[in-house]
């Protein structure tokens, strides 16, 4: 089996590579946590690309129910068909629609499934998926049939830790925490997105950026995507590296909250 090596646009460290491969080989879901902007969501696409699999995303909202990822039974369509005499309403199968996980189970090839922001859902949500993720199978009572995964999909789950996930769920996952990139790795990341920036500008911007992240009392610490935006703005505006340190131009790109701007000003 080929293994995940990161991709041209996705810079992963050894730990992440090892953990993704463990998840792939063991067939267990990979739970990824980390600060916003550390690349949790794009990981799945990078894994899929690297392993040559197709990927599907199941974005979780507060109202999402576990069964929706498996299948939905379109009662309303069936009722409609029964009233207006379209199609064969006796065949319930026609009204069963697979969800993202369900599709991955029946797919003829192994695929990657991203369950994005699982902590957005109700507290019971992870529990409702326990058996399904463990056995990679689910039952459809309407048909009295069990759908079993042809190939265990590579399941990647992201969480922002808004809610605690139940222990039983955690035990069935392999876990990775994406640490915030250090300067060295950040340089590689920036290089992928904005190649060829002058060294001096990067140094100055990084000093400012990591300095801000160390400040006590910020409500939202700036993350990778804000740094990339900020660098883009600095380059467009042609700000010289000296001014980046001395004047702190365009602070609003890095700090999105009024209060944080004040904190940054006072403690400068």
């Amino acid at each position: 089996m080929s293994s995940f090596q990161g991709s041209a646009r996705y810079i992963a460290d050894d730990g992440l590579l090892a953990d993704v491969n463990a998840a792939v080989v063991l067939g267990r879901p990979l739970l990824v946590k980390g600060e916003p902007g550390t690349g949790k969501t794009v990981l799945a696409a990078a894994v899929a690309e690297s392993l040559g699999m197709s990927a599907a995303t199941w974005s979780i909202k507060s109202t999402t129910k576990a069964v929706e990822g498996l299948y939905t039974y379109d009662v309303v369509q069936r009722l409609n068909d029964a009233r207006f005499g379209e199609g064969d309403v006796r065949d319930i199968r026609r009204y069963i629609r697979y969800g993202v996980l369900g599709k991955a189970f029946v797919a003829p090839e192994r695929t990657v499934v991203l369950i994005d922001e699982i902590d957005k859902a109700d507290l019971e949500f992870p529990n409702d998926l326990l058996r399904e993720l463990d056995e990679m199978a689910f039952h459809i009572p309407e048909l009295d049939e069990t759908v079993r995964a042809v190939h265990r999909p590579v399941v990647i789950i992201t969480s922002n830790a808004e809610k605690e996930l139940p222990d039983a769920f955690l035990r069935r996952c392999v876990f990775h925490y994406i640490a915030f990139p250090d300067r060295e790795r950040m340089k590689k990341i920036v290089d992928v997105h904005l190649p060829g920036l002058p060294e001096k500008l990067l140094e100055a911007a990084f000093s400012r950026f990591y300095g801000l992240r160390r400040l006590e009392g910020l409500r939202k610490r700036p993350s990778t995507s804000e740094l990339l935006d900020w660098l883009t703005v600095l380059v467009r505006a042609g700000i010289p590296p000296e001014d980046v340190m001395a004047k702190f131009p365009f602070p609003g790109v890095l700090l999105k909250q009024e209060a944080d701007l004040d904190v940054a000003k006072i403690r400068r």
Binding site: A18, L26, L79, R83, V174
Partner: protein
């Protein structure tokens, strides 16, 4: 060796279940750990479920593998082991009758647990040469050898850096951690305004063969009422920032049906203060009167004071119940009460801390402590 890791993890308070341990062994079997570095990542990803435990894992890992010579690549080790296992499974090796890989693994663990010293050339203990199915032939001198060179930076060195120390939840706390823990305190009841549930109506109507059936629901409202009582000033001064973060979190959360906060010094006496600086206060008896059994009461304080302040004093020389009596009244009225103590548990051996702990269940003011406290508040109702 691997079993040592399991014990060291347990010593660090990481509860590794058998399911995870087997998954870890299976990972080894599938060749996921060909070097010590990879072993480190495999063990961590399978056995640890939160970044808060990464540091404890590092400590356990270093304790297990530090100072271990690493001559043979782990890959050879495991493939030898597994080749043996496969032969055994097929019954080609006669004199050790394991009927399955599982049985052999169990035996290996047993022997590792029993073995205390070096063994060479024997046929039972895990060691070198000899005819034991476990160990290494020639170079090794104890246990299953874990080898791994590569890159110069070994996993033990990485573990020794303690890079994750800042993520321990028994140490660090911010508003967000508090919010996550506090949001465990939810008990929903449908008692809000009525509204028509369209989805539900369509569903019911469809199931009812098209006869309209209305589905009217009430909004879900968290029924939990929270009361926060905080010790302020004096020996609590160093903890002021921590306590204020807890207060901020509870206030911002807005999920409680009601939330009130009171201050006291050392122990509650006749008065509770809504604001110490302006001396806005309310008689404690009145606050107590307004409480119901449904209220969850959270005390925050170091609980250490001069014994007379708890057992005799009624505060500021006024007559009335002692501090401990007030606490008992609160606990009787609101059985769901906890006390959060910002002092580390090793300082709890103090007469007033013990007395208060006996009245109100006490937990350390850490994320883990808070979580345990919240669980206590959840079940005790």
């Amino acid at each position: 060796m691997l079993l040592n890791l399991l014990f060291n993890l347990r010593n660090q308070g990481l509860k590794v279940g058998s399911g995870e341990w087997l998954a870890f062994l299976r990972g080894l079997e599938l060749g996921l750990a060909e070097s010590l570095d990879q072993l480190y990542y495999l063990a961590r990803t399978v056995l640890v479920h939160t970044e808060a435990h990464y540091d404890a894992f590092d400590v356990a890992f270093k304790a297990t593998f530090d100072g271990v010579e690493l001559p043979a690549p782990l890959k050879d080790e495991l493939s030898t082991w597994l080749a043996n296992a496969r032969q055994l499974e097929e019954g080609r090796v006669g004199h050790h009758d394991f009927d399955s890989l599982e049985a052999m693994r169990k035996e290996l663990e047993k022997r590792l647990a029993e073995q205390k010293e070096r063994h060479d050339g024997g046929n039972h203990w895990v060691g070198t040469g000899g005819t034991s199915p476990f160990g290494n032939s020639g170079k090794a001198d104890q246990g299953i050898r874990i080898g791994g060179e590569g890159g110069g930076r070994t996993a033990v060195a990485v573990a020794g850096e303690r890079r994750w120390a800042g993520y321990r939840t028994d140490v660090q706390l911010d508003v967000r951690d508090f919010k996550v823990a506090l949001s465990m305190l939810r008990r929903f009841g449908r008692e809000g305004a009525e509204h028509l549930d369209i989805e539900g109506t369509i569903d019911k109507t469809a199931k009812n063969a098209g006869e309209i059936e209305l589905d009217i629901k009430r909004e879900r409202i968290n029924r939990v009422r929270l009361v926060l009582l905080m010790d302020t000033g004096g020996s609590m001064e160093p903890n002021a920032a921590l306590v204020s973060r807890l207060f901020t979190a509870a206030k911002q959360l807005k999920t409680f049906k009601t939330f009130e906060a009171w201050h006291f010094h050392n122990c509650p006496y006749q008065w509770l203060y809504s604001d110490y600086r302006t001396f806005q206060r309310k008689p404690t008896a009145q606050v107590l009167d307004d409480l119901t059994a449904q209220h969850r009461v959270v005390w925050v304080g170091d609980a250490s004071m001069a014994p007379w302040e708890l057992f005799q004093g009624a505060g500021w020389g006024e007559p009335g119940p002692t501090g401990l009596q007030w606490l008992q009244r609160f606990s009787q009225r609101c059985p769901s009460s906890i006390w959060l103590n910002p002092d580390p548990e090793r300082y709890w051996d103090h007469p007033t801390v013990r007395a208060i702990g006996a009245t109100v269940p006490m937990f350390p003011l850490t994320v883990d402590g808070l979580r345990r406290g919240m669980q206590r508040l959840r079940v005790a109702s």
